[in-house]
Structures are given as structure tokens and as C-alpha cells.
């Protein structure tokens, strides 16, 4: 009996050896499998962007240096400081901190205070910090909240307290349909991003057959729809996955059978990264395109070498290409500007310019933002009556040597 067990174990080991034999031999032949099968065949080579044009007369936080304001004047950041998506929040409040530091250094007569409130990015936890912030009378303007879910949950509180807030990151289009007078969006929304992504895929990437896969979040569903609509006849199939899903084999089988040359994943990197990795492992050689929810170094970390076939769309401007901003940010945060750092900086600048112009209570500051019409470092800021920016820009990004780099504006 004991012998039989040993035999079985040996048989198991032998089978394992045989199987791996098949793969090791093949892996060694095509000159280093490390490049990933996605690299080259149908992937279009779009050069990385090395500089972007910044508006000449951009409003900067320093202003004219002659501003005066009460020493209690306070701006606040409300959003994730901890939690699973903390990095996005950190990118943003460092941008705000930089704007406030530059303002206070130049304006001895107007030292604006900065307060941070943590929501963990969670809609269920956001109401507490928002209520607390709106009760503090010294806070006259807010940059936040970064995510669509928490913005949806707390917009009413800001509205009731008449506190102006500019979101530097939330992209769900329905946020501006609530009639809120205090909500302003400092970037393009997904009704802009979806069509831009569709145009990017069928245009620059030359995709003829695009498969759209969306997750079950408000963000993923909304963006999946606007992108699918934009694709028209290039859309050859759709699938829906769930948050937390890890195995995408059936979806991948459908994509392979449909012979898609590009896949658009509408969701976040937690599912997008393993999805891309499994796609490439199954021999997919087309391009993989994702929105701002995927544009994070975590995507590359989790997808591994498969991420070489990935492109991203994002209504965010590559702040790392604005030299003055990049060096100042680096000195403050000891890191490169991340996704939405420049949006945080610009949003804070709009509020600081208002304070400097003498709008030092909540009602005046709301009005200031409403009628604002000037260039920021990243783009022109002028809101319509709903709180959407006019003419927002969507940028394309790609993965190059394990880093996300911008490739220029898309969708125009």
C-alpha cells in the first residue's frame, strides 16, 4: 500500500515534468519570450510626448503678491488620504498644497490655511467628513471630492451649506444633472472621454474590430455605453464582468473567437490588470485600451509584461511635462506628479485667485467660480451653468518600458 503511494507520487512528478517540458522548450525558441506576445504585430507605434504647450497667460497661485485676507481664511481638501485608492488622493492634495504654498510665499498679507479631511474614497464614509467641513465657517472653498460615488453621496450637503467645491477627478456625467449650484468639475467627463476613446481606437490605433468589456460600477457602465456608442460599426461584441472577478477565461475565449484587434476595458485596474494579463497569456496580439480608472502604475505592476500592449485615455493633463510644475511638485512631494496632481493644483489656483480678488466668504466665492473665465496651467477654465467645463481635453497615454507616458491629445 505504501509503495503504491510512492508510485503515484512519482507518476505525478513525472507528469509535471513532461508538461513543463512542452512549455520550456517552446519558451526558449522565439528569442526571449519576455517581450510579450502583444508587442509589435498589430500594435501601432505612437511616439511619446515630450512636452506640452501651456497657456501663456495662465493664472498662477502667486498672483500679484499684494493680496490681503483674514488669517482665518481656509481652503480644504476632502477625499481619500487612506484606503485602497489613497494614491489618487495623495496626488491631488500634494497639488493643492503646492498651490497654497506658492500663494502664501508670494502674499505676506494673505496666509491661506489648508485643511484635509479623509473619506477613504468610500461613499459610505464621505458624509461625515463633508458635514464636519461644511460646519467650519472658516472654510470657504473645497477641492474635492475625487471619486464619482462619494461626490454623488455628498453633493447635497455642499449645496445646503453654500460651499463651493471643484472636483479634480470625478468623471461620471450624471453628477452635474442634480441642479447643484456649488458643484464644479475641473476636467472632462465620461460623455467626452467615451467618444474620444472610441475615436482614438478606430483612428490612431487603426482598430477595425473592438470588443468592449465593462465592470459593474457606475463609472464602468456609463463609460462603457458612451464608448460603445462612439464605436459604431467597429464594435463587434461586449461583455460585462464584476468587481472582484479574477478569472476572465470565458470573456477571453469570446474575444478570441470574435477575432478582435482591440479590447476596451471600462473599469478600474484591479480587474483590468489581471484581464489584460490573461488575454496576452491566451495569445491575444491586439491592443488593450483602458480609461483613467486603469491609468496607474498599479496596472503595470499587476499585469506584468502583458501591460506592454496597453493604452490609456484620461481627461487629465500630463503635469509631469510642465517643467516648472514638475520641479516644484517634486521638491514638495519627493515624487513625480501623478494622475490628477495638476488638476488639484489648478482647482486650488482658481479658488486662491478668488480670495485674492476679495471674494472672502462662501457666497462670493461660489459666484467667482461661476463667472471664472481664465487659463490655468493645464487648460482654460470656464464653466457652463451646470458646472461642466467648456472644451475639455482628453489625453492618450501608453506603456513604454514599464512606465505610463503621454502620447498627446486624442479625440479631436
Amino acid at each position: 500500500m505504501y509503495r503504491k503511494k510512492v508510485m503515484t507520487t512519482l507518476a505525478a512528478a513525472a507528469t509535471l515534468g513532461m508538461l513543463l517540458g512542452g512549455c520550456a522548450n517552446q519558451a526558449a525558441t522565439p528569442g526571449g519570450s519576455t517581450s510579450g506576445s502583444g508587442g509589435g504585430s498589430t500594435t501601432v507605434n505612437i511616439p511619446a510626448l515630450t512636452s506640452i504647450e501651456t497657456p501663456k497667460d495662465a493664472v498662477l497661485p502667486a498672483g500679484n503678491g499684494k493680496a490681503t485676507c483674514p488669517s482665518t481664511t481656509t481652503l480644504a481638501y476632502i477625499g481619500a488620504e487612506t484606503g485602497a485608492n489613497a494614491q489618487l488622493g495623495i496626488n491631488i492634495f500634494n497639488g493643492i498644497q503646492l498651490a497654497i504654498n506658492q500663494h502664501n510665499k508670494a502674499n505676506a498679507g494673505c496666509q491661506v490655511q489648508f485643511k484635509k479631511f479623509d473619506t477613504e474614497g468610500d461613499p459610505n464614509k464621505a458624509t461625515g467628513p463633508v458635514t464636519q467641513a461644511t460646519k467650519e465657517a472658516d472654510i470657504i472653498g473645497v477641492v474635492g471630492l475625487p471619486f464619482s460615488g462619494e461626490s454623488k453621496a455628498t453633493g447635497n450637503i455642499f449645496e445646503q451649506q453654500g460651499l463651493v467645491h471643484i472636483t479634480p477627478a470625478a468623471t461620471n456625467p450624471t453628477l452635474t444633472t442634480n441642479g447643484w449650484k456649488t458643484f464644479f468639475r475641473g476636467l472632462g467627463n465620461d460623455a467626452v472621454q467615451g467618444p474620444a476613446a472610441a475615436k482614438f481606437m478606430t483612428g490612431k490605433l487603426g482598430a477595425k474590430k473592438v470588443y468592449v468589456v465593462q465592470d459593474d460600477s457606475d463609472y464602468g457602465i456609463g463609460l462603457g455605453k458612451t464608448t460603445s456608442d462612439g464605436l459604431g460599426s467597429a464594435l463587434i461584441g461586449t461583455d460585462k464582468v464584476t468587481t472582484g472577478q479574477k478569472d476572465f477565461s470565458v470573456t477571453i475565449s469570446k474575444i478570441m473567437n470574435a477575432k478582435a484587434d482591440a479590447v476596451f476595458y471600462s473599469g478600474y485596474y484591479a480587474e483590468g490588470a489581471p484581464f489584460d494579463q490573461q488575454l496576452v497569456a491566451k495569445g491575444f496580439t491586439g491592443t488593450f485600451v483602458g480609461p483613467d480608472g486603469l491609468k496607474d502604475d498599479q496596472f503595470i505592476k499587476q499585469a506584468g509584461s502583458a501591460s506592454a500592449n496597453a493604452f490609456f485615455t484620461c481627461p487629465c493633463i500630463p503635469g509631469e511635462l510642465i517643467p516648472t510644475f514638475e520641479s516644484a511638485y517634486k521638491a514638495l512631494a519627493n515624487a513625480e506628479p501623478g494622475t490628477y496632481s495638476i488638476e488639484g493644483y489648478d482647482a486650488a489656483t482658481v479658488l486662491l485667485a478668488g480670495i485674492d480678488a476679495g471674494n472672502q466668504d462662501r457666497a462670493k466665492l461660489v459666484n467667482w467660480v461661476k463667472t471664472y473665465d481664465k487659463d490655468g496651467l493645464s487648460k482654460h477654465y470656464k464653466w457652463d451653468d451646470k458646472g461642466e467645463l467648456q472644451a475639455p481635453t482628453v489625453y492618450g497615454y501608453k506603456v513604454e518600458n514599464g512606465k505610463i507616458v503621454p502620447i498627446g491629445a486624442i479625440g479631436q
Binding site: 500500500m1 503504491k4 503511494k5 503515484t8 507520487t9 507518476a11 505525478a12 512528478a13 507528469t15 509535471l16 515534468g17 508538461l19 513543463l20 517540458g21 512542452g22 512549455c23 520550456a24 522548450n25 517552446q26 519558451a27 526558449a28 526571449g32 519570450s33 519576455t34 510579450g36 484606503g83 485602497a84 459593474d216 457602465i221 455605453k225 461586449t238 461583455d239 460585462k240 464582468v241 464584476t242 472582484g244 472577478q245 479574477k246 478569472d247 476572465f248 477565461s249 470565458v250 470573456t251 475565449s253 469570446k254 478570441m256 473567437n257 484591479a270 490588470a273 489581471p274 494579463q277 490573461q278 497569456a281 491566451k282 498599479q298 505592476k301 499587476q302 499585469a303 506584468g304 509584461s305
Partner: protein, 339 residues
């Protein structure tokens, strides 16, 4: 009734895309790949399910912390392979060194999981047994232990998954009706089935296995007959841990970015469902339940149009099976000779 429901329900959906489809051509087209992928994942479920089943058989306890026993194995695999220099790209190694590396990772994973199971039993369950605690207390302790391990990992490793590691690049071995079976799928299914057969033989033939069955059937009589109950219980936990460790290797092979503090949770629930489907307490039931759960979910999601149906279909089938056979397909019978 059902046709009416199918026309009424879509109206409730906010999504204006087709809510549900019965896509038979797609099922035909993707049938074989869904089968092979379903069997691959099903084998992983089955290996983890065995851990639930064995412990249930012996202690009548649903060990909810088993998903953490599994995830500790995943961390074992991850640490070993990153120590050995594996990275995000498939390494360019000879056959021999891949086998050696994977075996090393397997050994570390098995040790990590078995040790976790051992410590768990000693710290969480044994003291309760000594005091003759009611069964509900065991259940609550199991859930508590699960959270404790999960958040200890969270404190040490943080909220984000570990860097993905690729062990080897799957290569086609043969094809069935035009669908390629790759080395990874074949390796996982064959190795998992062999392990389960060995476990089954061990439990039905060996002396310790007889002891396990005796304790499962009647702990008091087994003790009177000279079976060391405590030793049998700890052995059962360790066997469950060993199988979970092996499952961990295959899981990380399939999902390289799955090593995360709460990464075992959903897989644990599925494996538990697989154990119940096959008949909890039944070793062959765990195998059958795991494979079925993998297949049904895959077929269901193709037929009904999208991936969000996977779990719905799998769990509806589970409920239906339990309605007709409350003991699961093969019945709960670790104690009887059917095990």
C-alpha cells in the same frame, strides 16, 4: 410563468442593452474552451473544497478560516518565487530549473498553509473543544480567525496586491475540436486530480485514514477503540492545509496578481459551495462539486450573455441541487466507507 418573468424582468433593468440572452451559437462556439477553463478552475476549487470537507467530516465545523489557510499558501508561493528571481515576464529558464523552482514554491506553499492550519487549530479550536463549547461558538471563532489572519496580512503587506509573477508561458499541447489545450491547464487539472486521488486513497486505505473515518463516524467510540482523537483532528487540519497549499501554487500560476490580503475570500466561498454541492464531508463529493461549479458557471455565463451571470448560475444550481438532495450530490459520508 417563466416566459412571463423573462419578458417582465428586463423592463426593470436600467441598462438599455439586452439584459439577458440565450446565446446558443456562442455556447457552441465557445463550448470547448469554456469546458477546459472550467475544469482548470474547478480543480482549484476542488482542492480547497477538500479542506472544508475533511474538517467538517471530523469536527462538524465549517472552518471559515480555510480561505486564509489558502492565501497564506499564495504568499508562500509569491515569496519563494520572487526570492528565486521570478518577475513580471516569463523567465527564460530550462525545463529542469522551472520544475525545480516550482517544486520549491510548492513545498514552501504547502508548509505555509499546513502550518497556518496547524496553528489555527491549536490556538482557535482546541481550547474551545477542551471547554466543550457549543457549536455556534466554533463558527464565530472561525469567522474571527479568518478576519484576524486577513488583517494581519493587511497590516504587514498593505492593501494592494503583490507584484504579478509569471512562472512560465503556457504553450499549446494539443487541440480538441479546434480548441487549444495549453500546458498550464493540463498541468493544473492532472496534478490536482492526482492529489485528490491520493488523498482519497489515503483516507480509505491507510491506518490514519481509518482513524479519520472512525472519528468522523463517532468520536467517542473511536476514542474507546484506541484512536487518538486529538492527533486525528490535527492531522485532518494539516492535510487540508497541504491541499490548500497546492491549490495556492496553481492559483498564482493562473492569476499572477491574485496575491492580496483578502484574495482568498471569494475563492473560499466558491470552494465551500463546491463542497456543499458535492456533499460536505465527502471527499469524492468535493472533487465532483469543484469541477461542476467551474463548468456550470462558465456555461451559464456564455449562454446568458455576460460574465456577471457566472455566480448567479452557479449558486442557483447549488440551491436547486440542495432542494432535491439536501445532502449534496454524493451525500455526506466521510464516516461511511464511501469516502
Amino acid at each position: 410563468m417563466i416566459p412571463t418573468l423573462l419578458t417582465v424582468l428586463p423592463a426593470l433593468s436600467t441598462d438599455d442593452n439586452s439584459w439577458i440572452t440565450f446565446d446558443i451559437p456562442s455556447l457552441m462556439q465557445n463550448f470547448w474552451s469554456a469546458t477546459f477553463d472550467g475544469l482548470t478552475f474547478g480543480s482549484i476549487y476542488a482542492l480547497v473544497a477538500l479542506g472544508y470537507t475533511l474538517v467538517y467530516g471530523v469536527l462538524n465545523l465549517i472552518n471559515f478560516a480555510h480561505s486564509e489557510v489558502f492565501i497564506m499558501g499564495c504568499y508562500g508561493v509569491w515569496f519563494t518565487l520572487s526570492f528565486l528571481g521570478f518577475g513580471p515576464s516569463a523567465p527564460n529558464l530550462s525545463l529542469g530549473s522551472i520544475v525545480v523552482n516550482l517544486l520549491l514554491a510548492l513545498i514552501v506553499a504547502v508548509c505555509a498553509s499546513a502550518l497556518t492550519a496547524f496553528v489555527l487549530e491549536r490556538l482557535a479550536y482546541k481550547p474551545l473543544r477542551k471547554r466543550n463549547a457549543p457549536r455556534l461558538v466554533f463558527l464565530i471563532t472561525a469567522i474571527g480567525a479568518s478576519f484576524t489572519i486577513q488583517y494581519t496580512i493587511f497590516l504587514v503587506r498593505g492593501p494592494v496586491p503583490e507584484q504579478a509573477l509569471t512562472m512560465f508561458k503556457p504553450t499549446p499541447i494539443f487541440d480538441v475540436f479546434g480548441t487549444i489545450v495549453d500546458s498550464q491547464q493540463l498541468l493544473i487539472v492532472i496534478a490536482a486530480v492526482i492529489m485528490m486521488v491520493v488523498t482519497e486513497r489515503f483516507i480509505s486505505k491507510s491506518r490514519t485514514g481509518r482513524g479519520i473515518r472512525a472519528v468522523a463516524q463517532d468520536p467517542d467510540t473511536a476514542t474507546l477503540m484506541g484512536v487518538n482523537k486529538e492527533k486525528i483532528i490535527i492531522t485532518t487540519f494539516v492535510i487540508g492545509g497541504i491541499l490548500a497549499g497546492a491549490a495556492a501554487l496553481f492559483y498564482v500560476m493562473k492569476i499572477p496578481s491574485g496575491v492580496q490580503y483578502n484574495g482568498g475570500f471569494i475563492l473560499g466561498i466558491k470552494a465551500f459551495a463546491a463542497a456543499v454541492l458535492g456533499g460536505i464531508g465527502n471527499v469524492r463529493g468535493a472533487l465532483l462539486g469543484g469541477l461542476l461549479l467551474g463548468l456550470i458557471g462558465n456555461y451559464g455565463q456564455i449562454l446568458l450573455g455576460n460574465s456577471q451571470w457566472t455566480d448567479v448560475v452557479a449558486f442557483v444550481v447549488l440551491v436547486l441541487v440542495l432542494l432535491l438532495r439536501p445532502e449534496g450530490i454524493l451525500g455526506t459520508s466521510l464516516g461511511r466507507s464511501r469516502a
